[in-house]
Symmetry: C2
Subunit: 298 residues, 2 copies
């Protein structure tokens, strides 16, 4: 630990190597909170260790500055390139793992992603949330339960997904209303059900610095097909997760490291005819069934 | 070292903790160059170690994303907030130390800073480069020499500095031409000389995220008074450095860790009268004398 003598100057002269690192650590010894100091000092220690370990050149440093600048400049309310960067570096899943250590039996979490939008439209059980999103019809249903198997009624089930062209609604210019996005509430049995479209695998945005990073690494930008769920209910921990489509070719190469086996389920294909909810479907359609188990708040 | 079997999937399922870090490292094992792989893997290793060490919460992660976003959004052609961030974390001086290990006797380097502008005006020996910058007149002179003490004639001496209000020309809106900025060439004796104004200590920009970071750390934003020099001559390594003013109260608390004792020299005050170059000065003025020693190219 660096010295915390407040009389000591924050920096000093003739700093290099380990002495420079110690001075930078000392400069974050007197912040507003111990937690701030801890995070800033750990960041400085690892940043300096990284630079020293690779013996970073001045040209590489300048390229890093330029990369971060481009990442900032492409980020808007609709596109969060720094989250994308965190995702492809595995940092997002690491943070999720640290903060979502749930009891055995509870449904696992995965990345939130950059495409959530607050204040989504509300639907009733059985409604169709696609609202014109292109894709084959898909009926999704299941139960929300506690660890002991009891129904969780009136749980808010928030859903968002890509269509079968691989786009979220916020990626399509000029849409008048949300598509493939909405929320509904479980019934007294803890049941949810809605129509939407079958999601498709898609590449994360490739036209920015994160796309350039993946290209330089010869990494695939693809994510396996999935539907985002966020489930909230009083007395339970909020669950942010996906349901992944069984058989997707990208399940073992998700660009953001987000796949959990327990979150994979079949999207079963059916010929046109009577659907599980009694409706008649004139085209082939799919069904997906997934039950969520919530952990109690601590 | 991660496995480099190209048949192995880039990522996998059910990743967390050390296994997730290994998968992220593997994803950067097949890039365009070994150097790219080395840098990306070291970055991933230290980023993950930082997150694990502090057990970063999801709220703190989101604050970090927001901080980087603001840093990107405030960065323009005139203001490089990511360089400022690198500077206050001690990262810039660390990179400079790694890349400028010169033989004993050569003048030391320090930070480049965010205020250099290419294509500065050319001046003749003895000219005044202030061009209206506010401040007391200051005559600056010295020699550029080799390690063995030989004159380096025709060396390009690039100069930029803050005025006595603590501003570089690029920080002052609406200026028609550069102020306190220019370049000249040494004569056959390796001598340079010019008039300008005495520089003042100044705070680094405080109105952005880096200013917020320093405030949260209860750190001073001040830099001691200095003049930037960049000296280039065929056969010699380019020297990027400052000359600091002896007696400045901030020499031991430079916000960017840039002070070297060997770069400190008096800015001597004189009453109005005959200056060293024979001119008559009607107000009190200052003189600064500093000799630079260049290392040969390797």
């Amino acid at each position: 630990m660096p010295s915390r003598d407040p009389m000591e100057p924050a920096t000093a002269r003739n700093l290099s190597g380990a002495g420079l690192t110690e001075a930078a650590l000392r400069s974050f010894a007197h912040g507003d909170s111990e937690r701030f100091n801890q995070i800033a000092q750990s960041l400085v220690r690892h940043l300096h260790a990284f630079i020293s370990e690779v013996q970073l050149t001045e040209e590489e440093w300048a390229k890093g500055v330029e990369f971060l600048t481009r990442t900032g400049h492409i980020t808007t309310d609709q596109r969060q390139e720094f989250i994308l960067l965190s995702d492809v570096l595995g940092a997002s899943m690491l943070v999720i793992g640290i903060n979502n250590q749930r009891p055995a039996g509870a449904t696992e979490s995965t990345v939130f992603g950059p495409f959530f939008v607050a204040n989504s439209p509300r639907f009733a059980l059985g409604d169709n949330i696609a609202n014109g999103a292109p894709g084959e019809p898909c009926y999704m249903e299941g139960y929300v339960r506690s660890l002991s198997g009891e129904a969780v009624p009136n749980a808010r089930v928030e859903v968002w997904q890509a269509d079968d062209e691989g786009h979220y609604d916020v990626q399509v210019a000029g849409l008048p209303a949300p598509r493939g996005r909405g929320h509904l509430f479980t019934d007294n049995d803890g049941r949810y059900a809605f129509w939407s479209v079958r999601p498709s695998a898609y590449p994360i945005p490739e036209d920015g610095p994160v796309g350039d990073l993946l290209a330089a690494a010869n990494r695939s930008p693809m994510r396996p097909a999935h539907v985002h769920f966020m489930i909230t209910a009083p007395g339970y921990q909020t669950l942010v997760t996906h349901v992944f489509a069984e058989g997707d070719p990208y399940l073992d190469s998700d660009a953001v490291f987000g796949v959990k086996s327990s979150l994979i389920t079949p999207f079963a294909r059916h010929e046109a005819g009577a659907a599980p909810d009694g409706s008649q479907v004139n085209t082939p359609y799919y069904t997906m069934r997934y039950d969520f188990t919530l952990a109690p708040t601590q």
